[in-house]
């Protein structure tokens, strides 16, 4: 949770994924979308920010014999990047965005991934379609057993929903990083819940990473 200003508008801290660790700190990758990210963009180099974190859980790592498939939609790459990095050359990444210009950090992703399959909604780079659609066309020819792959995904809700249908069909375990409006980030406000088959769960505390099968899509 990052405090973007000291005033009262915007009031709440903003939740961000930790993009990657550097030698002396950490990096956040964000898209300018509203007031909070607008303030961040206008900050001068060397300015300071208060943050609370890290909070919540992380993607459970795959077993030795599993091939990790990572699905990123747009700015969702910020959440999965450190996983791709950690899996050092093992992950096959399905990276989708609206247009070619929205494929942020593509070179860096290529550097750490085993393979990157790019798609865009308008076809300006890679295949035309979403990352979930690309994965859907990939699986029938490659999936021999449900436990051969482990899937990790972050992106817009419709993408995760479509993905969860595919992984259910192929009976592959999938971990999705969920997003909801968040106030406190520490489990107190109960604002950021998602509906699961086991009742509402807090994205900030029980998540953000949950299994695709537990979510009521």
């Amino acid at each position: 949770m990052i405090e973007v200003n000291k005033g009262t508008d915007p009031l709440l801290k903003r939740a961000f994924s930790l993009f990657r660790k550097t030698g002396d700190g950490l990096q956040i990758l964000y898209r300018v979308r509203g007031k909070g990210t607008g303030i961040l963009r206008n900050m001068k180099e060397g300015a300071s920010l208060d943050m609370l974190g890290p909070l919540g859980n992380f993607y459970p790592l795959p077993s030795e014999d599993q091939t990790p498939l990572i699905i990123a939609g747009g700015i969702g790459i910020a959440s999965v990047f450190s996983l791709i990095e950690r899996l050092a050359g093992k992950a096959i990444v399905f990276y989708g965005a609206r247009t070619q210009d929205d494929l942020l950090m593509l070179n860096e992703v290529r550097e750490y991934a085993h393979d990157v399959i790019v798609s865009t909604d308008d076809g300006s780079a890679g295949r035309k379609g979403t990352a979930a659609e690309t994965l859907r066309s990939f699986l029938p020819s490659y999936a021999s057993s449900p436990t051969q792959f482990c899937i990790y995904a972050c992106g817009p809700h419709p993408l995760l929903k479509a993905l969860s249908q595919t992984t259910k069909e192929f009976r592959i375990r999938a971990y999705v990083s969920m997003e909801e409006h968040m106030a406190c980030g520490i489990g107190a406000c109960l604002g950021c819940v998602v509906k699961t088959h086991d009742g509402y769960k807090r994205v900030c505390k029980e998540g953000p990473v949950m299994t695709a099968t537990e979510i009521v899509w």
Binding site: E3, T8, D9, P10, L11, L12, K13, L52, E180, H181, M182, A183, C184, I186, G187, A188, C189, L190, G191, C192, V193, V194, K195, G199, Y200
Partner: protein
């Protein structure tokens, strides 16, 4: 010399006037890694009902100008699980534990109050009367003086614990509602609960909250809350717990000067988990600076002259 900042809410003695507002502090444990709960005047836990409540579908919160709307829907684990799973932890701290509770009928309020009064370690009860009354066709308990009087009176008979009634600001005359609560046996009133509000997404042309409306909190409501504390102070003799958009010690002092005996920190907890302790320290520093020996001499001074 350090000023005396202890205050009394009926028979309840608080080491300082800073409490946490129900619904913004979880069951206390969520904040225990950020601050020493023993420093607080009181911890007011999230509203409880006899049976667990699932709450509303998301989106449950929306940020607004200097505030936020919430429609959590009173999600809670229920009184029994609170008693067995949360209360033992809270009791390890040296602070007053106040349990906020609600029901959807007078019988439920009474049963909840009886159950909570039968366990050790709960020092006070705060009644949320801003919820729908199923028996009376979903009107809100706290907006009808007759119903308020009935439900507070019934709960009063069911408990000997200090009873605080949390008033809804969504009424024409909050001073009248405070009088009604006091006459029905309330030992104190909390002023105010959230203001009902709405935000709309112009793209989808729908309310942003799944519940459509929600409770507005945060600095945006502070002037309204302060005015209401001021009016209630003139109307009743029972102590007032002031709340609504308190972000720092200066805000807290404004409420005390308007007439509050104690204050509660709400939305600010979400932004700065340690803010309630900062407010206690800020109040102490102000009293020293102003050479005020006892915080009780500051209360209601806005009404003088």
């Amino acid at each position: 010399m350090t000023a005396d900042i202890s205050v009394k809410i009926g028979n309840l003695e608080l080491k300082n006037p800073v409490m946490t507002a129900s619904g913004t502090f979880g069951y206390g444990e969520e904040y225990a890694e950020f601050l020493d709960l023993s420093r607080l005047g009181a911890v007011v836990v999230k509203g409880l009902s006899l049976m667990p409540k699932e709450g509303n579908p998301p989106p449950r919160i929306v940020e607004t100008a200097s505030g936020m709307l919430n429609a959590i829907g009173l999600q809670n684990i229920g009184i029994e699980r609170f008693i067995s799973e949360k209360l033992p932890f809270l009791r390890t701290y040296n602070t007053q534990i106040i349990v906020n509770f609600f029901g959807d009928s007078i019988e439920e309020y009474v049963a909840a109050a009886e159950r909570l009064s039968a366990v050790d370690g709960i020092h006070g009860l705060e009644m949320n009367i801003s919820c729908p009354n199923k028996q009376a066709g979903w009107c809100i308990f706290g907006t009808d003086p007759g119903v308020t009087s009935q439900v507070v009176g019934a709960v009063r008979k069911a408990t000997r614990l200090p009873l605080i009634v949390k008033l809804s600001p969504n009424v024409t005359d909050i001073a009248l509602m405070a009088k009604v609560a006091a006459n029905a046996g309330a030992d104190a009133v909390s002023v105010i609960n959230t203001l009902t509000g709405m935000a709309i997404d112009i793209g989808t042309r729908k309310p942003k909250l799944a519940n459509r409306t929600g409770g507005l909190s945060g600095p945006a409501i502070k002037p309204v809350a302060l005015r209401m504390v001021y009016e209630v102070y003139k109307a009743v003799d029972v102590p007032i717990i002031g709340m609504g958009g308190i972000m720092n010690a200066e805000d807290a002092l404004e409420f005390i000067i308007a007439g509050a005996s104690a204050i509660a920190v709400g939305t600010a907890n979400f932004i700065h988990p340690t803010v309630s302790v900062d407010i206690i320290d800020g109040i102490t520093a102000f009293l020293a600076q102003e050479h005020i020996a006892d915080i009780n001499s500051l209360r209601g001074t806005a009404h003088a002259g």
